[in-house]
């Protein structure tokens, strides 16, 4: 684990970090890696036969319901165009 790893995860998780935060989180991640080492002896191929909600996929009918209006759902968007039809973002092209 080094600075490059922190920068890679920062980019992957879309969280901009200050230089001070990068140092702090590097130290934390190294410390956590030691912690995760406690699982190193486990073999995922030898999963116990027991299973319950951890392994279950929960599916339901894909049926449309209109409990709320579009306006209700967009009220919390941080920015909207004047006619509420679009959420503005920086230009891509």
């Amino acid at each position: 684990m080094d600075h490059k790893d922190i920068e890679r995860i920062s980019a992957l998780s879309r969280v901009k970090l200050s230089e001070e935060e990068k140092e702090m989180f590097l130290e934390d991640m190294i410390s956590f890696a030691g912690f995760a080492e406690e699982l190193s002896g486990l073999d995922p191929d030898k999963i116990p036969a027991y299973s319950d909600h951890i392994n279950v996929s929960f599916m339901r009918e894909d049926s449309a319901k209109t409990r709320y209006t579009r306006e209700d759902m967009l009220k919390n968007a941080p920015a909207l165009s004047i006619d509420w039809s679009m959420i503005p973002v920086p230009k891509v092209l």
Binding site: D5, I6, R8, I9, S10, A11, L12, S13, R14, V15, K16, L17, S18, E21, M24, F25, D28, M29, S31, F32, G34, F35, A36, E38, L39, S40, L42, D43, P44, K46, I47, P48, A49, Y50, S51, D52, H53, I54, N55, F58, M59, R60, R67, Y68, D72, M73, K75, N76, A77, P78, A79, I87, V89, P90, V92
Partner: protein, 465 residues
């Protein structure tokens, strides 16, 4: 006054919903412990109380809890109220609908009076990680109230409301209940709908209940539990078999706690034997993997769940110009998410990244299955398992420079039940120095009702009851 006493007094008109709600609102408005991030509009609450009073006059109360005020952790939606999750990211978010648990309670006549403080997005165990202010422990003011549902626990402990809703991902209802001298229920996973609860770690999150006694938790649980069409993981309680009258002390957790906590467990053991329970031994050796497994799984799920707070779909947007959408998202999240949330987001993202997934995430899932299997096997030999709720008494408030990994380790008592999805109740005890502690009572899945019934008997037989 317990919830049952209040309910009985309402039924015979010794108490009035209007007086009850007005008193709760007064207390919440004068709150000196930092319990609330926001309180309800007074007129809205009193209007509901008047309607409830009319129902009592016409002898048609909606439920035993009609007219009773309650508080809601601020990561659960209450229509028309702000919901911040204790984060600057959601400072301006207004809930567009009620969470199912809240709706069931308001449909039963209960009245929301406020949204309570929490560690940001539920990540923490002291309620000092709120982006706004810390909550203080009403009964032990120099100590933390626990977390992350510290605001809800404090509101009940201070006597503002007879019960409150919290959420429990790895102990966030049980540990603050123990620290504030009250009871807390973490229900069986899926027995209470998560619809309207802001997701932290979806395979672990449950809405829980904080009240003075287990009987109070049970009455609320009757109302909020059961299948909900808006949460596919929710279910009606299966007909649980009667809890066998045997119990075990989880030795792995008992030995990891300090002397005060062990003494409380010893007292609870004596009470159980007086109640006719026979003590047996069980092995839960996989519990040794709980903490790394919990932090890897919960952080991995959090890194996915919290991706929606990007300044575009939800959350505050970085004000300055950005070069690209990615840049805008990164800056918004960098600016408005707190340190602990960033730490776990990075940790979760790393755990799921190429190369690391096999080493960390899959092994954590293996550990989780081993823990669930160990509990299932143990419950073939005993009805309930008891353990301390926390490894020590509440720490003093304002501690700094504690390494995160050390703080994470203090969750050891509560995360095993979360990983296994089983119900657990924390019952308050006191140390010899009159500091708060708690004993956690666990049973097999869907045994919540009987677990609460046994817990009530234990609660009534404590030395300090």
């Amino acid at each position: 006054m317990t919830l049952k006493t209040i309910s009985e007094k309402l039924a015979v008109k010794e108490l009035s919903p209007v007086e009850l709600v007005a008193e709760a609102l007064d207390k919440a408005e004068k709150d000196g412990f930092g319990c609330y991030i926001s309180t309800v509009d007074r007129d809205r609450a009193l209007k509901s109380a008047v309607e409830s009073e009319d129902r009592y006059i016409s002898k048609k109360p909606l439920s035993p809890l009609d007219g009773i005020p309650f508080a809601v952790k601020d990561n659960i939606l209450v229509s028309g109220m702000r919901m911040t999750c204790g984060s600057r990211m959601l400072e301006d978010f207004t809930a567009p609908y009620d969470a199912s648990a809240v709706k069931r309670l308001t449909d039963a006549g209960c009245v929301v009076i406020g949204k309570t403080n929490l560690d940001e997005f539920g990540m923490g165990s002291s309620t000092e990680n709120s982006a706004f202010f810390p909550t203080r422990n009403p009964r032990y003011p120099d100590r933390v109230p626990g977390g992350s549902s510290g605001g809800s626990a404090a509101a009940v402990s201070a006597g503002h409301v007879p019960f409150a809703l919290g959420s429990d991902t790895g102990g966030s209802v049980r540990q603050p209940a123990a620290f504030c001298g009250i009871c807390g229920l973490k229900p069986t996973y899926g027995s209470v709908s998560r619809y309207g609860l802001t997701g932290f770690a979806s395979s672990l999150d449950v809405i829980g209940i904080l009240a003075d006694d287990p009987e109070g938790c049970s009455t609320v649980y009757d109302i909020i539990s059961g299948k909900d069409e808006f949460d596919a993981t929710s279910h009606d309680l299966n007909d649980a078999e009667a809890i066998p009258r045997t119990f075990a002390v989880c030795e792995e957790l008992y030995s990891a706690a300090d002397e005060d906590q062990r003494r409380a467990v010893d007292e609870c053991s004596v009470i159980l034997q007086e109640l006719g329970f026979r003590r047996v031994s069980v092995s839960l050796s996989s519990i040794q993997y709980s903490i790394p497994a919990y932090y890897i799984i919960s952080s991995a799920e959090a890194s996915s769940n919290l991706a929606r707070f990007d300044g575009i779909r939800y959350g505050k947007r970085h004000e300055e110009a950005s070069d690209s959408t990615d840049d805008l998202v990164s800056k918004s999240r960098g600016e408005y998410l707190g340190i602990e949330v960033k730490r776990r987001t990075l940790l979760g993202c790393y755990a799921l990244s190429a190369g690391q997934r096999e080493d960390w995430y899959q092994k954590a899932m293996t550990a989780r299955k081993m823990i669930a299997a160990d509990f299932a096997s143990a419950f073939k030999n005993c009805g309930i398992i008891i353990a301390p709720t926390a490894p020590s008494v509440p720490p003093v408030a304002g501690r700094t420079n504690i390494p995160p990994v050390e703080i994470y380790r203090s969750d050891i008592m509560t995360v095993p039940a979360s990983l296994a999805g089983i119900p657990a109740v924390s019952i308050p005890f006191e140390t010899q120095d009159h500091l708060p502690t708690g004993v956690q009572i666990m049973s097999s899945k869907d045994g919540d009702k009987e677990l609460l019934s046994v817990s009530q008997k234990i609660y009534s037989m404590r030395k300090d009851s």
